[in-house]
């Protein structure tokens, strides 16, 4: 009875909600649309007035020139390589350490963990220059080592995984130990499978962070052969002979992989992200 009487108001309300959602989603997507559309335009039409919503003529030459003139494939390879290696390293080292902090007892465990938590509060820029010095003392500047090694593991990842692992029932672990597994075996057989949602989140966050990282790769690399996508893109933007359409092609290529990864792993990612925040 109640439902029937308020149905028109409900309908109105729902219509309004959809309207707002659709309108705001469209607004959110416009910058992306505009960047793709610009990347398909000829240079002289980029700032045409009135603006061209659909490129005419539609051309792929910007993408071609981005690959032939500006070695984007090198930047792309570097981004993929660095991101993959860093992500795998993170998953391995962070989860392992998180297991130790969450489930194993050893002297100084909590003190060491708290000590490392301090690292979360340090803005990267505090360490930027001395870290660079360390790289150059080791002669690692302008090598993949400088891009990867300082990021093999991170306190945030350990913190995140620890949140997940803490809730694993100790009985499961004890059972595995009784079965004769060493600690590493327990980790491999019991802990890892249970931590999969957390690991999915860690994978995406690490991949995204590394893929989008700008400041450190910029500082630590000096030759094009080692640039990652954001660095190459920023340089493209600053060269005064580049044209906007080409730059937009560059941005599309830089953003696309992350967007694809996200769309592919959307569900696990959002589950993982929000669980982390809610457990706070």
């Amino acid at each position: 009875m109640n439902r029937h009487r308020t149905s028109t108001r409900d309908l109105f309300g729902r219509f309004g909600i959809y309207l707002v959602l659709i309108a705001s989603s469209i607004l959110m997507v416009i910058p992306f649309y505009w960047s793709v559309s610009t990347s398909l335009k000829l240079e002289q039409f980029v700032f045409a007035s009135p603006p061209q919503w659909w490129p005419s003529p539609l051309t792929f030459q910007n993408y071609i020139s981005v690959f032939t003139k500006i070695h984007f494939q090198t930047y792309f390879f570097n981004s993929v390589f660095v991101a993959l290696v860093t992500t795998f390293a993170h998953v391995f080292f962070d989860t392992l350490a998180a297991y130790a902090f969450a489930k194993l007892t050893f002297p100084g465990r909590d003190k060491i963990f708290f000590f490392m938590l301090l690292g979360l509060m340090v803005p990267f820029q505090v360490n930027l220059i001395p870290l660079y010095r360390i790289m150059s003392t080791l002669s690692w500047t302008n090598t993949y080592l400088a891009l990867i090694v300082p990021n093999l593991t991170g306190v945030f990842g350990i913190f995140l995984m620890r949140q997940y692992l803490i809730s694993i029932p100790n009985d499961l672990l004890d059972a595995a130990r009784i079965d004769g597994c060493g600690e590493f075996g327990v980790f491999r057989r019991v802990v890892l499978p249970l931590a999969v949602p957390g690991i999915a989140t860690l994978i995406i966050l690490t991949f995204m962070g590394t893929w989008n990282d700008f400041l450190w790769p910029r500082i630590v690399t000096s030759s094009e052969a080692l640039y990652t996508l954001p660095v190459g893109l920023a340089q493209l933007q600053m060269k005064n002979t580049s044209n906007e359409a080409q730059i937009m092609a560059g941005t599309v290529l830089t953003a696309l992989p992350m967007i694809l990864v996200f769309l592919f792993m959307q569900r696990q990612f959002i589950e993982g992200m929000t669980a982390g925040a809610l457990k706070e």
Binding site: I219, Q235, T241
Partner: protein, 421 residues
């Protein structure tokens, strides 16, 4: 057994990581040992330096050149980072405006002893004009070999002037008049640069200066300087100039779409216009920038420098000398369209040619003329702070935030404070 696997795994990783260091170390070379020099070049696509490598390596089979193409901003950043501890290149293209900072900190190698006092057999002061030599000298050291020079002259739409029956402006009053007649709404305007390069030009043209001759006092707020800047501002208030801020985009865009009909810039811009705006061929010309009391301009350019911690200095010097040969200096023009710094190259027929893009005139006659009265920025350690203060004032003036005198006085106070440190 599992413990062992984990242990081995980690040890492997750590050893890979640690064992990879030291692979880039170079040994100081005896004269005929194989050496590699690293060259950083910010010229970009139209670089005159890259074409030199093949010939140089042929002549010097024991030297391999590792070439890195960067852009202006990146080179400055990288140079900052490596001079403070890292592996600097052996040769680097250096903007003259960077000299105050690096030279004052001993960041560049003194080329005098390294060169034995001669550049390709010539004494340094024979190879360059006095102004040019002065620009690369810091406290009696030669800190870079001037490779191309940069002075500002007036670029103008000769076709529009002809259409409207106007003469090329030579004085400020004429410039005001011509710019007003050229302007049509938001098109065909004089580009208003709010930076030290442009602001200083107007001050020099009125007999003023940025710092006193001994570099101890700030004088860019002197009455001459204020009057000069006021005249510059008048162009904006008369709506015959366009304030060129970050959201105007690139200047070359403004040239192409007609927003800009006059601007002040250096020879390097010729190359940019030819490659990015070929449709403008024949429409533009250059002339000495109109002045108040005397012609004036900042003097800058690119030098080839050897960072103080570079590892292969002798080989680096060989490369620089090679680049400074007359026939290779000519390449500065033929590749980059810029102005070679070596006097002999400047006066050569290959460089000092009639340029069809610029309506058949010889642009280098103009730039050479401008070079005679050009001044380089003061070589003091605090130059960056002074530069920032002055250009901030220019921005405030151009945006109408502050009156000329107030902005310059405020900036002068900041600059004086910086100088006192």
């Amino acid at each position: 057994m599992r413990i062992n696997k984990v242990l081995i795994g980690m040890l492997l990783i750590m050893s890979f990581v640690l064992g990879a260091c030291g692979s880039g170390a170079q040994q100081p070379a005896a004269s005929n040992e194989k050496v590699t020099i690293t060259v950083w070049d910010y010229y970009g696509e139209a670089t005159p330096i890259k074409p030199l490598i093949e010939g140089f390596q042929k002549e010097n089979p024991n030297i391999t050149v590792q070439y890195e193409a960067l852009d202006w901003d990146t080179t400055l950043e990288k140079l900052n980072v490596v001079t403070t501890g890292g592996t600097p290149p052996d040769v680097v293209t250096t903007d003259m405006t960077w000299i105050p900072k690096f030279a004052a900190l001993g960041g560049f190698t003194d080329l005098k002893p390294l060169s034995g006092g001669k550049l390709n057999g010539e004494a340094w002061d024979q190879a360059y004009t006095p102004g040019g030599l002065e620009a690369i000298t810091y406290k009696d050291q030669i800190v870079a070999a001037l490779y191309d020079f940069d002075v500002y002259a007036l670029y103008y739409r000769a076709d529009l002037l002809e259409q409207k029956g106007l003469q090329v402006p030579k004085t400020w009053d004429e410039l005001k008049d011509v710019s007003l007649k050229l302007a049509e709404g938001d098109k065909y305007l004089y580009q208003w640069g709010a930076d030290t390069f442009h602001g200083s030009q107007w001050i020099y043209e009125n007999g003023g200066d940025l710092l006193s001759a001994d570099n101890k006092t700030v004088v860019f707020n002197s009455p001459e300087a204020v009057a000069a800047t006021q005249t510059y501002l008048d162009l904006l208030t008369n709506k015959s100039a366009i304030y060129w801020g970050a959201d105007q985009g690139e200047r070359i865009q403004g040239i192409k779409d007609g927003r800009i009909a006059m601007f002040s810039d250096g020879p390097y811009n010729m190359g940019i216009m030819k490659s990015a705006a070929p449709e403008m061929a024949g429409k533009w010309k250059v002339a000495l920038h109109p002045y108040g009391k005397q012609p004036g301009s900042y003097l800058g350019g690119t030098g080839l420098a050897i960072p103080a911690q570079a590892k292969q200095k002798e080989a680096a010097w060989k490369f620089i000398e090679y680049a400074m040969r007359v026939e290779n200096q000519i390449g500065v023009y033929t590749y980059a369209g810029a102005a070679p710094a070596l006097t002999a190259a400047l006066q050569s027929p290959e460089v000092n040619v009639a340029d069809p893009y610029f309506g058949g005139q010889k642009p280098f006659d103009v730039f050479l003329e401008a070079m005679k009265t050009a001044k380089h920025f003061p070589y003091v350690r605090q130059w960056n702070d002074i530069d920032v203060a002055f250009s901030t004032a220019m921005e405030q003036i151009g945006l109408g935030q502050k009156p000329v005198k107030d902005a310059l006085d405020e900036a002068a106070a900041i600059a004086t404070d910086a100088l006192s440190k």
